[in-house]
Point group: C2
Chain length 340, copies 2
């Protein structure tokens, strides 16, 4: 069966590719949060035994990919394609982390939307028969991201309440054309770039909420579904500020998503115990929540159908210094538990 499009932007994956293995490796702080039991590996050391934070991020990538392949019962060189990306300049987190796999590597940059982008592409290529097995891998690291995007950590800069905390973690998913009971990707909606004119790099939630709104609304409309047709609609990392905006915007449309809505950035940390301001962020955030808590929960029967919409802010420090606003993008992946 060939590809099928539905409505404005949604692709129907008629072969319902299966996510047969998924794993996540995270840092210490994430391992102390509410999702602690869902992580496959928790590193106690921000350097993961490596010489630099960047190498530590690559080590997390390597581990998440290895564990996901193990759980899928495939060798690490078995996938025919890897779709991978991260937040670092030139995507060195995933580039170096996966350089020895021997698997064809298609590098992505979608900022914090990368887990959805990589899963979307992996699922489409498996659906179309271009790969039997493909992998989607994403990472971020608090220390690498802070020093690249904001300030040297030692400087101890103040963070406004709207700021989010970059998650240290990597998530990997193996997508296969196979039978059996698995979470399966049934529909995907790639996102357009939405620029609401926000310029505050410490308020990414507000910058990204319009992109999430646009893509989720489009996905629902294309499939003629209402929010309650999903057991969970989960954004990547809008945090409390962006998540609130998203719920408000839908409410103005006459749509209440609050009963089924959650955000990976709000799930991963406990704001009462952990000083993360508006929540978690970074592409490792939605990656480690999806590849642990969410997909595990689907396997355990907690949710049957979820819509995973990770959101990314496509600015750079150079763009911000030049006074540019923050363009954002959100890709949505609909996942259903079931037989092939």
């Amino acid at each position: 069966m060939g590809g099928k499009r539905l409505g404005a932007r949604t692709l129907v994956l008629q072969n319902r590719p299966a996510i047969t293995g998924h794993a996540c490796a995270v840092g210490k702080m994430e391992g102390e949060g509410p999702l602690r039991d869902s992580f496959d590996a928790v590193e106690q050391d921000a350097r993961c035994g490596m010489k630099s934070w960047e190498q530590a991020e690559s080590a997390l990538v390597k581990k998440a990919f290895r564990l996901a392949a193990e759980k899928a019962g495939v060798r690490e060189n078995n996938p025919q394609l890897i779709f991978a990306g991260d937040l670092l300049n030139q995507c060195i987190g995933t580039g170096y982390g996966l350089r020895n796999t021997g698997v064809p590597h298609l590098g992505l940059y979608g900022a914090c939307s990368t887990m959805a982008e990589s899963l979307l592409l992996a699922a489409v290529l498996v659906d179309g028969g271009y790969a039997d097995t493909a992998a989607a891998v994403t990472s971020s690291h608090f220390c690498t991201a802070e020093r690249q995007f904001r300030m040297p950590l030692d400087y101890g800069g103040q963070r406004p309440p709207t700021a989010q905390w970059t998650v240290t973690g990597s998530g990997a998913a193996i997508v296969r054309n196979t039978s059996g009971r698995h979470p399966r990707v049934t529909h995907v909606t790639p996102g357009v770039i939405v620029d609401a004119g926000i310029k505050d790099a410490n308020n990414m939630g507000a910058a990204m909420a319009p992109a999430a709104y646009d893509t989720i609304r489009c996905h629902l409309k294309d499939r003629n579904l209402s929010p309650r047709d999903f057991d969970l609609i989960v954004t990547g990392d809008l945090g409390s500020v962006g998540g609130g905006i998203l719920v408000d915007w839908f409410r103005k449309d006459g749509t209440d998503i609050s009963a089924v809505y959650a955000d990976c950035g709000m799930l991963i940390f406990d704001p009462k115990r952990q000083d993360v301001h508006a929540g978690g962020s970074g592409c490792g955030c939605s990656a480690s929540v999806l590849c642990g808590y969410l997909l595990n929960g689907m396997r355990q029967g907690r949710w049957k159908r979820i819509l995973f919409a990770a959101t990314g802010a496509l600015m750079s420090t150079t763009a911000s210094q030049q006074g540019e606003s923050i363009p954002s993008v959100s890709h949505a992946v609909s996942i259903e538990m079931g037989e092939g």
Copy 2:
């Protein structure tokens, strides 16, 4: 027809998607080079009338995409997908350049392999029926790349003879599922990451040649072809150093590719008149050579079948400063002139 795989890594695009429109916009120096007649637009000003070099790069992206859509006879918001990337941190060249298109945006990071990566994915998704029309867009800019990767321009740093000159330019291709006589993508081979241990960021050709060798060899083997089955095998931007290594490595295999081999980095500048050391580089190099000179030449009957293998070096300045070697990747796209 569904996707078909051939040999180790090659995908067969049975519907032979057509490149119906292609265009490139370049800078002044490129416009003074041997390919001057093949460019759709030549900017005389490195800032393209914008306030910064980064904004200029985005302006080139915008122009190349607009011209390619025009030549394909489609509106700019007509493609269902754009695959795009560039060299800048967080890919702001293409991100900002395409933010107002309203077309679903899948951002890529493949360094200088991006034109091949984006064309590969656009062609696969069109072949599979996931899009009727998709775009592949890539850019680089000498001034943005130099200040990001090497030195402030005003510093006037010396460049060793192995260094290459980043092309200022953007190329865009529109891929459609349509009949008619066009250059068509028939087979693609995504590349694995190859790290030969080279650490000299001023010798990218040597770092990338092993990846090009690996992918081209794999493509030939998977299809059981010899180099002479192509009218042209063209690498992205190995330059004179990397190109020489590639020819040598094939020679050691008993394969002479020299009669059909060319490199975009060696085609775009005239080393006798233009002081570019080992040749052109940057993802805008292969993008503007492909979307002008090469695809125009195919339409004019100069070549019937070409293998376009762009190569990317996946390092960053941070990785280099930490003593890392340079991992590289090369994706190959086989293009044939013909009816659908």
